[in-house]
Amino acid sequence: MTRRLDRTQALLAGALAVLGVMTVYSAHADWNRQILWVLLGAAAYVAATVYDYRRLSSIAPTLYGAMLLMLVAVHLAGHSALGARRWLSVAGFPLEPSEISKLILVLVLAAYLARHEQISWRVFGGGLALLVPPAYLVLAQPDLGTTMVIAAVTLGMLYLGGARPAQLLAVVAACAVALPLLPRLLHGYQRRRLEIFLDPNQDPLGAGYNLLQARIAVGSGGMFGRGWLQGLQGQLGFVPERATDFVFATFAEEFGLLGSLVLLTAFGVLLIRVLRAASVAPDRFGELLAGGAFVMVFVQVIQNVGMNIGLMPIAGIPLPLISYGGSATITTLAALGLVQSVVVRRRPVVHPESERRGLGTISRRAQA
């Protein structure tokens, strides 16, 4: 079995987790805990690799129910910080169900779409319907960022699962219609963040502060960076949420453009390995599972790095494997473990007849 492992993927995941611990240490967060999260995540990774992912298909409804239960529990018994209720306390450790819900939704959608070779309007609607309850509960925490991630995961999986352009266009059209309503749906601080994203200088010491300080930190890294533990903005606390949402700014200041490109390349290669896993999956469930994991990590990397450098509006999303946080780290590693589980159980030889409708779609579309 070990010979069938995707060693590159495992190596990259490990390397990113180590970089993450280093950056978290530099950002003065509780790095001992982060090591613990990485170790727990590694255990989850190994367990997921060994575990036959195909058995998850049947328990998907149960997982979905458990996820909704956790999300409701957050509203009833959650801890709040910075104006949002996101955490449950489990055996003294903070648990962030919205993070876990990303992976569970990938599993549930994979199981659901795997049962339907053709994505009819009914199936497409069903996929969207699966998104609505968790999306509503997460948005109400409020956590716009994670809501956007799980929405993107859903759409991405529908696309990879073979949804027709008309169907996706319909969603885009619906969003376009809903857009004018957006300011009314958003919380005050969320609306403010959008405005600030459009013009960070309008309030440099208020709401625009985070964005501006992050941008200064990234820029001050220059080509080669100020060196590990040498960042001014990150070390001295000018970068807000320097170990979580803005961890990339902390990283970029200390490791420069070179380090940032290495980090992005590492993510790029990792994501390609995950896509490859989708293309070699023995079944549609595995293919969709790996595809979902790809979308999940991809969206978070793009959004987090994009927001750190001012390309995306601010939304509280961790940088997978780098940001401080137990739920996110363990969830990401477990997801990569499941992808590994798919790789390990791949078909020995790629037969021409496997290029049926459905299978192979993902690799074709991902290359597009």
Partner: protein
Amino acid sequence: MGLLAVKLAQLQVADGSRLAALAESNTVHRVILEADRGIIYDRHGVPLVENSPVWTVVIVPAGLPSDAAARAQELVTVSRLAGVAEPKLADALFTADPYSSVDVATGLTQAQELAINERLPELVGVSLVQHAVRTYREPLVFGHVLGYVGPIDTADAKRLRDAGYQPDEMIGKVGVEAGLETLLRGRDGWQDVQVDARGKVIRVLASQEPVPGDAVYLTVDASLQRATASSLAAGLARDGKTAGASVVVDPRTGEVLAMVSLPAYDTNLFTHGISRAAYDSLLHDPDRPLLNRAIAGQYAPGSTFKMVTATAGLQEGKITPQTLLNCPPYINLGGWIYHNWASYSLGRMNVATALATSCDTFFYQVAAMVGDVTLAKYARAYGFGQAKEIEMPGVMAGLVPDRIWKQIQCGVPDLNSDACRWSEGDTITFGIGQSYLLTTPLNQAMYAAALANGGRVLRPTLVHEARDATGRTVLAQKTEVTSTVPASAGTIQAVREGMREEINPPYHMNYWFRASGVPADGGGKTGTAQWGGSGLDLPTHAWFIFFAPYAQPEIALSVFVERGELSEVEAAPIGVDIMKFYRGNIGAIRSGAP
């Protein structure tokens, strides 16, 4: 991914150096280290002012605990310890820039400072900052000399920015605090410190120590200043007067030994924070306590001016010391009657006796002989009409009138009308120190000094010495003659003779000397000057000028009593009282420098 890389390259390479500089300026702050203002001492080294430490509570709003409950708890603690109402505290903090330092409580008591200092480690985002506040030791005695410091106003702040003045700096406003600002101020130092986002200092990168201001030793003798103030206050109280001034100088050097203006006011009010009401009451007090009459009060000199007329008459050859003139009760000038103070004739007399008896009609005649132009020349030579250059702002010149001045200021469209033309009456009243003549107590003291030293008009000075922080002398008193009276030694001697007669038997003034046990060895002259228009029964001011000893004068003084009615009774005893103290303490006053 490609887009991210492009944007990253743009930020980190294209904008890299600019953003790196921003990061530096974010984290490196320049802290100004206030220089201690120089201490002002009397001529023997008695400190007249101190820099007392005052503590201020400073809060950086962004540095407060982020947890709402902890923050509220902390504000309650600060509010209680610093004695600031909590709503006021919250208001100050949440309207301010969150990354700025907000002064939430100034002027803490020692107990408050200790209590807060003790709790400081747990009060996140709170710090104590020490400032030095100027405290004057005896503001009611030295106030008009020292003046006070106050917050720099916007005009000065703009003008002095290049000199390194901070927008909230204290600057000398009046008195020697203002006149010696450049010596006293010192040079602020600075520290470039690296701070974290909460404003906490991480380390000091570079620093420049502040250079304290120079120590200034005044020429004033503290004990003589106190004695002058109490003599003047007692004299004013005795006659129901409320305002006056006195200046005591050394006629050999021009050093001011004492300078008093009453009423005085508490200058500490200005440095420790004055209420609107207290300031208004000072401003609108009819006795004008904020006016330093010694340098800025301008009054007619009255009969004290007669030595100028005598000098002019003698030097211009119109009279000799032996010339006898009548002293009638009045003279008739083209139908206008000009009275003497006495309603009977005092007989024929020489110039010395005319001075001793202060015969007005004698000097009307001399003034008419000399003429107004020559009289003005001698007045200016004695220093009248010139603002003395002394180490404080606001010195007034007084006024020596002449024909052109009268025409310009008469306020009638036709400058050749009678109202604007100089009349013979103007000339003869000029001769007894009336007409339009004005002078100040400081000018009068320097005038007395010139009469004492044989006709040299000296620049008055308040600074004996200034030393920098290393003890090096940066400024030392030196005697400067600003003008010399164009008169022979014999002329001055004849004038001085009159001043000596006035304080000796058979004249009444001698009584004060006998009563006080002060030898009448010197020269004096009283003056009761009318003011507020022309005519009879006008209100008057009382003057007395004096020097001693007669042969080798070492002290000269002027005494001014606002609304004084009889100078011989109201002003002269004050001068004699000051002389009594001087003679009794001459050893201490004249002992060596610090």
